[in-house]
């Protein structure tokens, strides 16, 4: 096992354990923090995949903004930080069964797919992926249209959010 594989396995294990804790822990703030750990694990995976930009963006956007907002919202709205209700309802075994079946089914169905065993082509050395990515986002030959639509979409969502939250005096 190379050191890189070891790092990968440790990160993957940490990510999975943290993700599991997100749904099992009863304290909401702790759940949010476990989510942060999960997201951080994903960022590390990006680094291992030679994608430092995505890793940093993952940290900035998900850990630095979204998870902070989660914690913020929990603290502002909840008096009781502990979830008091039962964690599982009566239908838990059915849900577990469906999840297992879906997972097993998908696993079985995609077993034949060669995408799992194919090795990705190595990145061309010396290529500046960062500027390539940046240019692709705004180039008319690539993704400028989705980029602009996303901007309009966010504007609409912003207007809507302000409207819903606005308290008239």
């Amino acid at each position: 096992m190379t050191p890189l594989q070891l790092v990968f396995l440790l990160t993957a294990a940490l990510t999975l354990v943290a993700a599991f804790r997100v749904v099992t822990t009863r304290n909401l703030v702790h759940a949010a923090l476990w989510l942060v750990v999960t997201l951080f694990g994903v960022a590390v995976l990006f680094v291992l995949l030679n994608a430092p930009f995505l890793a940093v963006v993952q940290v900035v956007v998900y850990i630095g903004a979204i998870a902070v907002l989660f914690i913020f919202a929990i603290m502002l709205t909840r008096r009781e930080m502990r979830d008091q209700g039962a964690q599982l309802n009566k239908g838990w075994w059915a849900a577990a069964l469906v999840s297992l079946l879906t997972f097993g089914g998908l696993f079985w169905l995609t077993r034949s797919w060669d995408g799992f065993t194919r090795t990705a082509a190595p990145l061309p050395t010396g290529q500046d992926t960062l500027s390539a990515l940046g240019k692709a986002l705004v180039s008319p030959d690539a993704f400028v249209l989705p980029f602009e639509i996303a901007s309009v979409l966010l504007l609409a969502a912003l207007v809507g959010a302000v409207y819903v939250a606005y308290r008239e005096k």
Binding site: V29, F53, V60, G64, I71, M75, L76, L130
Partner: protein, 364 residues
């Protein structure tokens, strides 16, 4: 990976952390002395010559203080919070270049710990993590003043992070790179503060809010919140928060110096690369003095005004500045950037002035 390289990294990291920690200690002394001067006092001058041993005495005192943990606190997070606050402050400094490459013991050594091609984004990422320490400290103490302090501070940091992030953009655009070394080298004839003075101003204001310094030291407004998020902390844990604040001041000043004030550049650097760290040090000290000066001069802003200023003034202005910078670069008329952005800045100041005057009249 070659073991000499790893050794080099370890040594550089150790030096950096050592510099930050001593810097922190002496920055407290510097601040107390400078504040005292401004207030026509003398300041601490008993421990050692000019009070130079004062930080050592303070440190000893803090180590021997009793550590209290509130009974109802969330023990794990309560212990973790100071650590989470300090670590980002320290690792933030990793991407700052202290000078050009130098030859040392026959090796080509670059004077920065990590030379990332996403250096600027790294700074944003790490500084965005810093919120956690404060929020968690406030929440885990299980004390309403602490919680309010933590919430205030996180709201403030999130709000000003936007303007801060946008203030990075002019520097990135002008240097056409996110690598810190490239940004410094791109400032060769003209520092970016000359090309983009308004962007620099936005950056400095936003960083003040990010490190919770006066006049934005809302989270620890004594009159309202006792000591804010670190109300329940004592002893070495408290010292860690203290350390984080001052270490962040140093790091943020060095980032500002690097992005807008030419970093390690200065007369003679081409000939003698060892001058680089010296120039950077001088610039950092000047910026730090500016922060202290502000603290001595300005009263604390009211909280709603603080938020309004961040969202309604700083953010639009930062957007305008970003746009102006891009415009100047596309048109290849760099002189346009300072002219237009100063105009935008003056317009903003005039509007704020008008709004405040109106409010004053409405009250009267």
């Amino acid at each position: 990976m070659d073991s000499a390289l790893i050794l080099e990294w370890v040594i550089k990291s150790a030096i950096l952390i050592f510099v930050l920690l001593t810097g922190f200690a002496y920055l407290t002394l510097f601040e107390r002395r400078a504040l005292a001067r401004i207030q026509v006092r003398i300041g601490p001058n008993r421990a050692g010559p000019f009070g130079l041993l004062q930080p050592v005495a303070d440190g000893l005192k803090l180590i021997f203080k009793e550590e209290l943990t509130p009974a109802e606190a969330d023990k794990v997070l309560f212990t973790l919070a100071p650590v989470v606050t300090v670590v980002p402050a320290l690792i933030l400094a990793a991407v700052i270049p202290w000078g050009r490459d130098v030859t040392l013991f026959g090796r080509q050594v670059s004077l920065s710990v990590a030379d990332l091609n996403v250096g600027v984004l790294y700074i944003m990422a790490v500084s965005s993590i810093a919120v956690y320490g404060i929020v968690l400290a406030g929440w885990s103490s299980n004390n309403k003043y602490a919680l309010l302090g933590g919430l205030r501070s996180s709201a403030q940091m999130i709000s000003y992070e936007l303007a801060l992030g946008l203030a990075f953009v002019p520097a990135i655009l002008l240097a056409d790179s996110m690598r810190m070394v490239d940004i410094v080298e791109a400032q060769h004839p003209w520092w970016f503060v000359v090309i983009q003075p308004v962007g620099t101003a936005i950056f400095l204001i936003a960083t003040l809010a990010e490190v919770n310094r006066a006049p934005f030291d809302m989270p620890e407004a004594e009159q309202e919140l006792t000591a804010g998020y670190h109300t329940e902390y004592s002893g070495m844990k408290f010292a860690l928060f203290f350390m984080a604040e001052y270490a962040k001041m140093i790091v943020i000043s060095s980032i500002a110096a690097t992005l807008f004030f030419g970093g390690y550049l200065g007369p003679g650097v081409d000939r003698y690369p060892w001058l680089g760290p010296l120039y950077l040090f001088i610039k950092i000290v000047i910026l730090l003095f500016g922060m202290i000066w502000l603290r001595a001069t300005f009263p604390r802003i009211r909280y709603d005004r603080l938020m309004a200023f961040g969202w309604k003034v700083l953010l639009p202005l930062a957007l305008a500045v970003t746009f102006i910078t891009a415009l100047g670069i596309v048109l290849e008329m760099l002189w346009l950037i300072p002219v237009l952005s100063l105009a935008a800045g003056l317009f903003t100041v005039a509007m704020v002035h008008r709004a405040l005057r109106r409010k004053a009249y409405a009250r009267a």
